[in-house]
């Protein structure tokens, strides 16, 4: 129980910083939105390509935004020796991992809701089976966030981290992009039966990424 309490404490701290600084809201969300616009410039909006590709484009936008969100999550620890304070706080590293992940997860889920409205309005996408769609999105986001947080702490305090994190994270989360896109496509086509297997894959990915994160975060935080 203390694990949950401590995790909530850390995520509360991160979300409070976000509420005051509004970096995700005023920078990351608009960034993801402009990516949606850029896709429309790249793919002719009149030929129906955008609508067909919408699930994949949505997830690429989410992935790019998640890199920024993770980077932000560790940028707040970089100043004023905050990372040392976190290490010395006596909090369980697993709780710190869970807390930081929860905070980024919450922000990304908000971002996904905004982007979903974006693809529905801009790309003329109609969503049919909402339950598998929502579950796939949550599972995929958990997997991406857990992976991102691990690489975030892995590279915390290193030079070149801004350019390194995308190279490290993106190949690892390819299964999440793949699964989420397929699940979305099935939901858009109104065949939830085809979405469920992918939801299971995403759930497994989230579980593995989360487990690896719980185990690896402590040793990595010590070294960072």
């Amino acid at each position: 129980m203390t694990l949950v309490r401590e995790a909530l404490l850390v995520s509360g701290k991160d979300l409070r910083i976000e509420r005051r600084a509004k970096v995700t809201l005023s920078q990351v969300v608009p960034f993801a939105a402009i990516v949606l616009l850029l896709f429309a410039f790249a793919l002719d909006p009149d030929r129906g390509v955008l609508t067909r590709a919408a699930p994949g484009l949505f997830w690429i936008a989410v992935l790019l935004a998640s890199l920024l969100a993770v980077s932000r999550s560790f940028a707040v620890e970089a100043e004023n020796g905050a990372r040392d304070a976190l290490r010395l706080s006596g909090l369980d590293p697993m709780a710190i991992f869970l807390g930081k992940s929860l905070a980024v997860l919450a922000q990304l889920l908000v971002l996904e809701v905004v982007l979903t409205i974006g693809v529905v309005v801009l790309y003329d996408l109609s969503l049919r089976s909402l339950v598998p769609l929502a579950l796939a999105s949550v599972a995929a986001t958990i997997g991406v966030v857990a992976t991102g947080i691990v690489y975030g702490v892995l590279t915390a305090g290193l030079r070149l981290r801004e350019t390194l994190v995308p190279l490290l994270v993106l190949p690892v989360v390819t299964p999440a992009l793949l699964g989420a896109t397929r699940a979305w496509e099935a939901s858009v086509d109104g065949v939830p039966g085809e979405a469920w297997p992918w939801v299971a894959v995403l759930g497994a990915f989230a579980l593995i990424a989360g487990t690896v994160g719980l185990l690896a975060f402590g040793p990595l935080l010590e070294e960072s």
């Binding site: 793949l178 593995i208 040793p219």
Partner: protein, 254 residues
């Protein structure tokens, strides 16, 4: 500081050279041209061993990374071997992709196909390219070794997930990809022998290069330490330990 005793290394080097020479002779002249693919099939004598090597190299990286992380077996040798092996793995993965592409053009008519194995191999390439980039960042040796080891294990765990999801994706989409039974005829006789010879030659090459790369990696580290000493001595205005003396120290450790 060599991975293998010096005489073993020398013998290994020559054996590798002979095996590679034999592979060239068998692959280009002795083995008959394939009935369907004719001479293009000869690329397989390099492509298949390269792919095998890439997997072997990444397995060695994962194994030595785990050995480094485990306290009882922690030793810098594992870190050096993990890095050396990952480098070889990336080179051979790249070689596998290029050779496969060269073969695919005449046989499939395309440079690239979205086949599960191809996509997985491409992801594998980028996974370990990231790992190598992480290793290049300077810093405390132990901290670097630890985070590299964890990154290597994450990459290793990720590979089967990537492979599973990608192959599932492709089989859901299209029946019978390019890798169906018709395109991979049974092989036998000289062709099979040549393929095995290729695997053997490349494995020898891997062990030889790994041992050489390990030596280089250790020397690099020692050189950095010596350079640091020199820089510190210059900074505090003491007569610097002479560089050639330092180089001698590096030589002695070999």
């Amino acid at each position: 500081m060599t991975l293998l005793p010096r005489p073993v290394n020398i013998v290994l080097g020559w054996t590798t050279l002979v095996a590679l020479g034999a592979l060239v002779v068998f692959g280009l002249w002795v083995a008959p041209p394939d009935a369907v693919q004719s001479d293009a099939q000869r690329l397989m004598y390099l492509h298949v061993p390269a792919a095998w090597l890439a997997y072997l190299a990444f397995f060695v990286t994962a194994l030595t990374s785990a050995l480094y992380l485990w306290r009882r077996t922690r030793a810098t040798v594992w870190d050096h071997v993990a890095g050396a092996s990952a480098e070889l793995g990336v080179i051979f993965t790249g070689l596998t992709l290029v050779l496969g592409s060269l073969w695919g053009r005449p046989i499939w008519g395309v440079w690239w196909a979205w086949d599960a194995r191809l996509v997985t191999t491409a992801v594998l390439f980028f996974l370990y390219l990231g790992y190598l980039a992480l290793r290049r960042i300077p810093g405390d040796a132990d901290a670097r070794a630890k985070r590299s080891a964890i990154a290597a294990l994450i990459a290793f765990v990720d590979v089967p997930i990537v492979h599973f999801s990608v192959s599932w994706w492709r089989t859901l989409h299209q029946e019978g990809t390019v890798f169906n039974s018709e395109l991979s005829p049974e092989i036998g006789g000289t062709m099979a022998f040549t393929l095995w010879l290729g695997v053997l030659a490349f494995t020898l090459l891997y062990v030889y290069l790994l041992s050489k790369r390990y030596e280089l990696s250790v020397l690099q580290e020692e050189l950095e330490a010596v350079e640091l000493e020199v820089a510190i001595a210059e900074r505090i205005g003491e007569p610097a330990p002479r560089i050639d003396a330092a180089a001698g120290a590096v030589r002695d450790t070999r």
